[in-house]
Symmetry: C2
Subunit: 145 residues, 2 copies
């Protein structure tokens, strides 16, 4: 197993699946809904608790500037709140607002629902298990590249 040529093929197939999925996910975007990075940032803020923009950027592995854009969008809709860090006046701590929590709770995001629905409807338990096992490997792969 894992001869060079197989790994090359795997790389190509993986790229194909990953880019197609990203594209489709973006196409599902409807006006007024959260963008993909917005949803990711909001979800992370919710599971990880309040954090600064720089911390979130490191966690999501994007630049602080890009995270700033994303957070600005979330703040405009009142989904996150900012408060200054009393110990370090450079920092601004972001947290999920009540509206944001409700948004996450009620899964109002049509794209997320559709994504989850596709997984639930069209895949066997064995296939779901494969995807579940593969998800963290994709992250690790991204970090190793």
């Amino acid at each position: 197993m894992s001869q060079p040529s197989n790994v090359e093929d795997l790389a190509a197939t993986l790229y194909g699946g990953v880019s197609l999925l990203t594209r489709r996910l973006r196409q599902l975007q409807t006006p007024g809904e959260l963008s993909l990075p917005e949803r990711a940032a909001l979800a992370r803020l919710n599971r990880g608790g309040p954090a600064s923009a720089a911390e979130l950027a490191r966690a999501e592995q994007i630049t602080p500037q890009a995270m700033g854009n994303t957070l600005a969008g979330l703040e405009e809709r009142g989904l996150v709140e900012r408060r200054p860090d009393p110990h370090d006046r450079r920092r601004i701590i972001m947290s999920v607002s009540e509206t944001g929590r409700e948004m996450l709770r009620h899964k109002r995001d049509a794209r997320s629902r559709q994504f989850a629905k596709a997984l639930g409807d069209d895949f066997t338990d064995a296939e779901l298990a494969t995807l579940r096992a593969a998800a963290p490997l994709l992250e690790r792969l991204a970090e190793k590249i």
Copy 2:
């Protein structure tokens, strides 16, 4: 298994891995190298044989306009060639040039090498098998969404 909440979690994790991977892959781009869609189009043209832009667009599931952009980039570097279809004067048939074939043969693309290297170096055979099984599932998921 596959309770709604698990599927939601899987959707979130999968999105995280997929978007991170896409981002990293794009970051690896160095000037003068093939872009991700260029590489995908060239590889498909090589495996599938000569095809029109519209056919390639359908195969890659992007718009003909987007494929036109990609092919224009490949043509500029002399990696693909165009010739009119003698039977249908609307169509232009694209094929991989000798230079393009050499590019694919010699794997000159540093990103592909690095992608394949990360797979070969940092993953066990079992993990590679999981990724191999997951790749087509990602494509199917993208189509079902």
